[in-house]
Symmetry: C2
Subunit: 244 residues, 2 copies
DNA sequence: CGGTCCCTTGAATGTGATCAATTCGAGTGG
DNA sequence: CCACTCGAATTGATCACATTCAAGGGACCG
């Protein structure tokens, strides 16, 4: 099974042959992109969704006054473009954070899904709903958590998400973001992010070397900063039966 | 047409008879609720979606340390529960902000929609996508805007959203939120919200009396604080054809 | 009348931003 | 092998936006 989407979706439901075929069709097209390469520019019409095969991708808002923030970090296996499907126009940009590979498939394929593979359609709806939960958590964090808490939650969440992507939690992971980008994600300045990371290292929570982070005791750290994972399983009980 | 959902959906597509019937079925059940009445408590299983017929509703996150924030304000005609559909479990609470009326319909009805009224399913997907856009904008605002800008954007956005709900923009509207609640929505303290509102009044942007706000010159104010509406139309071009 | 809820005002405090200078490191070209 | 550059991390000093704490006032309601 070389399909990373099938791989990911299989965590939730056992795909039928028809569904597998459809997934393959969605991943038919494949594009390798290099770091900083733009996928969507603000104002673009968006006629596709994308599966991110590997690499990291960010969605960013740019606004007046040079202020902008990173709205979403996409990890391998995730579906990109769900927030643009409604309007068909990008109000945020999407670009490669690292080298990587994406599989575009037309938005109209979603219409087909309703008919041919309704469970996949339901799954896509569920993924959109998870994106909403993540955004809500971020709203809370930005609104009510201190800078230290935000950085801590950020790293702990990343560890959890990477565990999902790589099917296996590891204490050490690659973090291809600059301090400035972390700041854009968390609503902080690059300088302050640097100071906080230094403090966290001093406190013995993490080790940082060459864009790699090692988390020492995730459990107790999570406890300390009030972090709890939100990646509960998807509930498929309401899904329609697979055809055939 | 007394159905507010049908009313709302009709802004996007002309409903067929079959679709109208389905919408009516979704709104069959109807519950009047009073202010502060809880609809969903954190941890609840969520087997329904709801259409808000009238009144205001808020989704709130509660966390350790008494800190919490308001994640979503639902206005009449909007669909509630889209962020819970994926996990089937509430990690945020939902409660009435004012007296109002909601129409619950089972999540399983969505599965039916894929088959019977795929365009409604697509519309629901689109609505979820709009919710994402709104959340993304809020992430940006919380991350990068000053308190004055946040309050300004908040009021201007509300005016735009109410215009959609009431089909008609008006300079004056009811704002059933306390300063503390506005603060929970914007990541500020009640006290500072009060000060800012006072400043905005002094600057001649708004008038506030008895929980009612009048916006003087929305255009120039929006210009001044860099606000732009994100409520672009829904793009239905990819929707499947209606059956029959 | 007391009680609750909400808004208001003032003064002090602190978290995180801002500004500016330096250091570090990887890559490049001589 | 050594200069050079460019991007990023670091450090110190200062500043300000928003919070916190505390007290008082107004509206509503039993």
């Amino acid at each position: 099974m070389e399909s990373c989407l099938a791989n990911r979706l299989s965590r939730f439901i056992d795909l039928t042959d028809g569904e597998k075929k459809f997934v393959r069709y969605m991943e038919e097209d494949e594009r390798d992109l290099t770091r900083r390469k733009s996928i969507v520019t603000i104002g673009d019409r968006v006629e596709h969704l994308w599966v991110l095969k590997f690499g990291w991708v960010i969605a960013r808002s740019r606004e007046a006054g040079g202020r902008s923030s990173i709205l979403r970090i996409y990890l391998p296996g995730e579906v990109m473009g769900l927030s643009e499907i409604g309007t068909g126009t990008a109000i945020h940009s999407i670009e490669m954070l690292t080298d990587g590979c994406i599989c575009p498939f037309p938005r109209s394929a979603v219409a087909e899904m309703y008919d041919k593979t309704p469970r996949l359609a339901a799954l896509l709806t569920s993924l959109g709903s998870l994106d909403q939960l993540d955004l809500r958590e971020r709203v809370f964090q930005l609104a009510r958590l201190s800078a230290v808490e935000r950085v801590s939650h950020f790293l702990l969440t990343l560890q959890d998400r990477l565990a999902l992507a790589n099917s296996g939690r590891s204490r050490r992971f690659h973090l291809p973001l600059t301090n400035a980008q972390i700041g854009d994600y968390l609503g902080l300045t690059d300088i302050y992010v640097g100071r906080i990371l230094k403090d966290l290292v001093a406190a013995g929570h993490i080790v940082v070397e060459q864009r790699h982070v090692t988390i020492h005791d995730a459990e107790s750290w999570a406890e300390e900063v009030g972090y709890r994972t939100i990646f509960g399983r998807i509930d498929t009980s309401w899904y329609p039966d697979p055809p055939g």
